[in-house]
Symmetry: C2
Subunit: 315 residues, 2 copies
């Protein structure tokens, strides 16, 4: 049997798995990133974790390659970290591909964590059979990936797909990450919804029944709380305006939304879809579908591993 | 000598030219579109114009193919008009490629008018040697084209690149073209600047020295008029917010801006560049340059013709 190793490096945990060609996880290992210890320690954990999984594989298993997905901006061609923020201090400049290939002698592919999720969606999930789609990853911030003509849009340095840093209010609050005003991440990410909740609390005559936390606000909204509905209404309209812009730019077959409040279920996605449809030209609207992310919690390691099949020319 | 025929179909005029491999126009013919006469008349004009240019070519000239750029949204694969608005009534659905190939028996390539300008910029202009860049065409509206990894981003139906319909204010005025709120076209296109000028006139205690016309406003701004500076400040900030979003999405090597107020010269582009740089992450900002469109007035026919070299596999 043939397998690929997938590794998903986030700010809090590193997940490593052995994955087969059908996208099934056959073994896994989870360890804390402890990013504050610095890049050498993180790299050490990655290498020893991969080594552990490899040592546990049956003798007749064939390991075709290693795929890594990492938080931050990754230069795919060199497999080096182009930029990583406070989530992974000192990670910028780390030559992940070179270090992994040097240690294990297996072809290695490195991309950012949202691009590898797009690979998983395309091979096994909501993007199956689609040549042009976007992934919108709602989390503390908003990440993204763009697939066009069957290929991930990487741009000049592998930094494309920063969908959270599209402005939906050029007079809005300043984004401390990029300097633009009114980035959609300031309204529809977990921290954005919490920010809107805080603003409402500061201005409200009557304090709401929830704290300024995106999951609490989303739950209260689903239960009919009018103040939560006010916050979620702003978040949904801002996100819909941004997605409508992506659609006019990229004319995709689908926008796949996952993470954060999208996991509260179909009410959120239905509302979002209705808003997006009202904000798009008929010519691009007809091609588009809003889809929930499909691959689930293992999307990071499955997508990381699937790079081996996708780019290794064996699929 | 080898030539391609290029045709540029706009709402008011059709321009047809014979163009050599170096992008030089060697013969041209200009005729009014008279779009109100309907699609059959427009197609008749296109075919007879191409026929005229072909009949004037020297006997030893080799014509390699025909390229057409048309206003509206074009399905590149079939060479059919996917959608055309009021500018070309009834033009939607016209099988341009099939009709031209049927008449002249030459390989024909059809794309929208901004995508062919991107082809011209890439082969002969500001995009020379660049694999990832965007073209922003300021006019009555705002058109666009996206080049990624050396290829034009087309999306599901050839409608990608509608850069004017990216929202920069999700609570802004509703766009009658697409239904979104606060499309950048409502602020920084010719009609958008005129709209902002009208708003200022309606609210002003002292009437400005200019009429609500984008060229008058831009000229007054260059001469130091403070009310014009107010309007142009809004237009530039809105456009910069949108361009910063494009940059975070596509991580391009360049954004090439042409048409409309960008033709007032370097003051506009310098101000715009300064605003864009303040609104982008260091990682994507370092790759990017703001460039004025280079190919000029003939970009439409030169780019239309250049499709023959680009897609014919001879370049």
């Amino acid at each position: 049997m043939e397998y690929a190793i997938g590794a998903d490096i986030g700010g809090t945990k590193i997940q490593i798995a052995a994955v087969d060609r059908e996208g099934r996880v056959v073994d896994r290992h989870l360890l804390p990133t402890e990013a504050q210890l610095g890049p050498d320690q993180v790299m050490g954990k990655l290498l020893s974790g991969i080594g552990l999984i490899l040592s546990r594989m049956p003798a007749n298993a064939r390991i075709t390659g290693i795929g890594v997905g990492s938080a931050g901006q990754i230069d795919f061609a060199s497999g080096t970290v182009a930029f990583a923020g406070d989530q992974l201090p000192g990670w910028t400049g780390t030559p992940i591909k070179a270090r992994v290939e040097e240690r294990f002698g297996l072809p290695t592919y490195v991309d950012n964590d949202v691009n590898v999720v797009a690979v998983a969606e395309r091979l096994y999930g909501a993007g199956l059979g689609l040549d042009s789609f976007l992934c919108v990853a709602l989390g503390t911030g908003i990440g993204g990936a763009i697939v066009e003509a069957g290929r991930i849009v990487r741009g000049a340095q592998g930094c494309a797909g920063e969908l959270g840093h599209v402005s939906v209010d050029f007079n809005g609050p300043r984004c401390s990450n990029c300097g633009n005003n009114g980035c959609v991440e300031l309204y529809a990410s977990g921290s954005g919804i919490a920010r809107l909740g805080s603003e409402l609390i500061d201005a409200a005559k009557e304090l709401p029944a929830w704290r300024a936390d995106s999951r609490e606000i989303a739950q209260a909204w689903l239960q009919g709380d009018p103040q939560a509905a006010q916050v979620m209404g702003i978040a949904i309209r801002a996100l819909a305006a941004a997605i409508a812009g992506y659609i006019h730019m990229c004319n995709p077959q689908a926008v796949i939304v996952g993470g954060g409040v999208s996991e509260t279920g179909s009410v959120f996605l239905d509302e979002l879809d209705r808003e997006v449809r009202g904000r798009t030209s008929p010519s691009v609207r007809s091609a588009y579908r809003l889809l929930p992310a499909y691959v689930g919690n293992d999307a990071g390691v499955i997508g990381a591993a699937a790079q081996v099949w996708l780019y290794g020319g064996n699929i």
